[in-house]
Assembly symmetry: C2
Homo-oligomer: 495 residues x 2
């Protein structure tokens, strides 16, 4: 039995290495690659991705899993070995349904569509993106047909990012959020002044500020980097090789929050138990759980009063024009509630409304009730309806996000689920660390990171999202109420 | 037959994709990776490298090559298809002799030894490097045993980098160079003043200068980048994704020549016939041929009087303290002949003497007459003997180059061969482009690049090094005399 397990571990370690190699190709593609490297990169991604898929779905993996079933039953459910066997079986059964050729095509056409998306953004013309989008969209639909239909054709997509979650469950959470968030926006009154966040902010100084903040958050020396990109993301090639990105603009400071957001993802990678390295358990249980942590560090920490009590003087030292801005004014400004066209620039209240629109449109694209041609118009109508925002151009509208260039349907809803989960967890953090505000005000994050690592991050991908939540805070469903209470209280206090 | 050929092409294209993926992992490792990413990167390189090797040596490749042999005989020797079959057969027969496990180990232990080498450099202590060096050294010797012994145990190593070249042939060229170069150094008299090359040179401005020069050399827009590293190198992931590196130091300008050197490699990648893309023919015929071009752009262009007549004013604009330096003084300074401890900082005359030392030491390491423990002492003795230089520390001596961290024996001699070849080719360039100096003085390089591309670069890796030289200039052996004549004339004119 020990032999079968070590054989499985070796197979999975090699597949993990290849997935990390894919990760390096993707990171480079989005941060460093000269634009004209795109076609060759698409081929490299497709070839390597096809091989990863082929090796993983090999019959031998299934035979090893079968041989290990009795052993699994004799182990503690929470043990690393039982979790490895259980999670691998689920991954393998899903991957087996997909032809390797299709997995490779998705990577190839996704890489090409991403290049087309960048071109379309530069031209602010959805039409430039459409042909490549259609190819990757059709591959995605073929992929979804590999799975049992479930209650909704959208379920297969959702399950990729939020394992076990059903479209109907997400719909139920969003049905609560939609009217409540709309009401909070309506009640927020005149948006706070945040004009001081626009001005002349040299990128090198923004980098300096973020480097300092990330070090303080708890990143280990010589084990991470932060680079510039068009659409911020985080990835890791090991617990000690974490790559974060942000989008710098010399005329505003949004890169700071995007950077802290990605740092939240980075900390979950770093916080995973080292025993899970080079196994499929070293990731995040779901995008929703991951996003709960990026939103925690971006918003619950990075837009809080105690945080800026500590860091505003530092920011003012780097950017002297901010010297005239008082702490209260600054905190109100960075928490300004005002509908706008861009999701990644949205405040905490309107953010999830952007997501609800995408969730609705994606379901229609998948069930065929909305065509790709009709998408921009439906987008603009939805923005007017949900947020009262008039969209002025494709780049301010339907072209703003990278996700659809990979037809990564099912990804967006996890952002709003993450918002809700972040507050469920934060309530427990606050109860356990009564001194938290004072620590943050002192620039001290080690107890916070330690709590999150011990309760949450160390589990990596051993459990389903809800099992993980249960182990972290004793709750086993997604509850949007703490998030709504937090927003109501915050908006009430600030306005 | 068409089917067998297209099957071979498809197999090779996929292997090429995977090799490019290995290239991205290596580039990232040497330019971007946080130091603590090294152990995981070693595993990823080994896993992917093992798969590349396995797929290439597959029996099916051999069957396809056999089926294609009659077709090959019916094609022109110089045709792309005949060259593809011929070169693949040579590569395949060599690779078949090496177990995939050994190929993977070499990558893994090489990556680890590279990290150890960086640590040893930081401590300037060869002892820190020795254990990792021993592991990779032993793997290299096992690898060499996979081949027929030949005349010298060193032949197998040399053949990796300079296909078809024998140790005795290199020895014969070096036997000419050694006394002649020593005599030129001795006759050069007092070294020219180059103190103006040391001072305060902000890295960002050095980058600005190099970016401009590289654009003018002929790199296509959006198809290359230049980054910082410890040990400069160039690589490419496509004709339109070329990565060059240099080593910036804020207190001197050496990065400029290191950058132009790597640009020479980059231009050979860019200049290959686009029809060779995604095939094993898209590289360079040998390191010696490649090096002839990096030395051409670094020295024959980048240290020439006409070049600096054009670019010195630009450099003076960026670095005002240089304003007091006249053109003659500058050209004399950047061509200063003076023995020193560091190969990459060496002038054109002493450079090949550094190589001759390494060639001699490597043969002794390979035949066992010198142990790894004795290497630093032998190094220091050789430096005293060949160059009259006393080595003050390991980092100034035996630890200065990255190559031995991969036990890449046989690599160094190609540098000196490249010096010789560069002048053989340059004589023909000068004869065909009588206006060349005036073009360079005008910052115009398109005719030069066009000549080199048409005569040399476009062939990629279709032919052996000497076949390539024959096609480029009608000469089919390496002749050190033009190089020596050039050095004698230059030293005579400058001193």
């Amino acid at each position: 039995m020990g032999e079968a397990l070590s054989e499985l571990r070796q197979r999975l370690a090699e597949i993990h290495d290849l997935e990390r190699a894919l990760g390096v190709l993707g990171w480079d593609q989005r941060t460093m690659m000269p634009p004209r490297g795109a076609p060759a990169r698409a081929e490299a991604l497709a070839t390597l991705g096809g091989i990863v898929h082929e090796r993983f779905v090999d019959d031998e993996t299934g035979r090893l899993l079968d041989r290990l079933a009795p052993h699994e039953g004799s182990l503690e459910y929470d043990s690393d070995d039982a979790s490895l066997i259980r999670v691998t079986r689920r991954d393998w059964e899903k991957a087996r349904r997909v032809p390797s050729e299709l997995a490779a095509s998705w990577l190839r056409e996704g890489a090409k569509a991403q290049a087309a998306w960048l071109e379309a953004r530069a031209a602010s013309d959805y039409g430039v993106f459409l042909p490549a989008f259609r190819r990757v969209h059709e591959i995605a639909l073929r992929w979804a047909e590999c799975f049992d239909p479930g209650d909704s054709p959208y379920d297969a997509f959702l399950d990729e990012y939020e394992p076990g979650m059903k479209t109907a469950e997400v719909g139920a959470v969003f049905a609560v959020l939609r009217p409540e968030l709309t009401a909070i926006v309506a009640g927020a009154g005149e948006p706070a002044d945040n004009s001081f966040l626009h001005g002349d902010f040299p990128v090198a100084l923004q980098q300096e500020f973020l480097d300092d903040v990330l070090r303080r958050f708890g990143f280990e020396a010589d084990a991470w980097r932060l680079d510039a990109t068009v659409h911020p993301f985080a990835t890791s090639f090991a617990r000690t090789d974490i790559r974060m990105t942000t989008r710098y603009k010399p005329d505003n400071l949004r890169a700071l929050w995007a950077g802290m957001h990605e740092a939240g993802h980075g900390l979950t990678y770093q916080g995973a138990d080292p025993a899970l390295e080079r196994t499929p358990l070293s990731g995040s249980p779901s995008l929703g759980l991951g996003e709960s942590q990026s939103r925690t560090w971006e918003n619950l920490v990075g837009r809080s009063r105690p945080f800026w009590a500590r860091f505003l003087p530092e920011l003012q030292r780097l950017f002297p024009p901010l010297a005239a801005v008082g702490l209260e004014e600054f905190v109100r400004g960075v928490n300004r509630v005002a509908p706008g066209p861009i999701r990644v620039d949205a405040d905490e209240v309107t953010y999830s409304l952007h997501i609800i629109l995408r969730f609705e449109l994606e379901q229609q694209l998948v069930d065929g009730s909305l065509s790709l041609e009709e998408l921009p118009e439906a987008w603009n109508a939805g923005m007017a309806d949900l947020l009262g925002v008039e969209v002025e151009s494709d780049v301010q509208g339907v072209l703003q996000d990278v996700h659809w260039s990979r037809a990564a349907y099912g990804y967006f809803p996890t952002y709003a689920l993450g918002n809700a989960i972040s507050l469920q967890i934060w309530r427990h953090v606050q109860a356990d660390l009564p001194d938290l505000d004072a620590q943050i005000e002192a620039g001290e994050f080690s107890e916070l990171y330690g709590w999150l690592r011990e309760r949450l991050y160390r589990h990596g991908r051993k459990f389903t999202p809800l099992e993980t939540l249960e182990r972290a805070i004793g709750e086993s469903s997604i509850d949007p109420q703490p998030y709504l209470e937090y927003l109501r209280a915050k908006v009430g206090a600030l306005y």
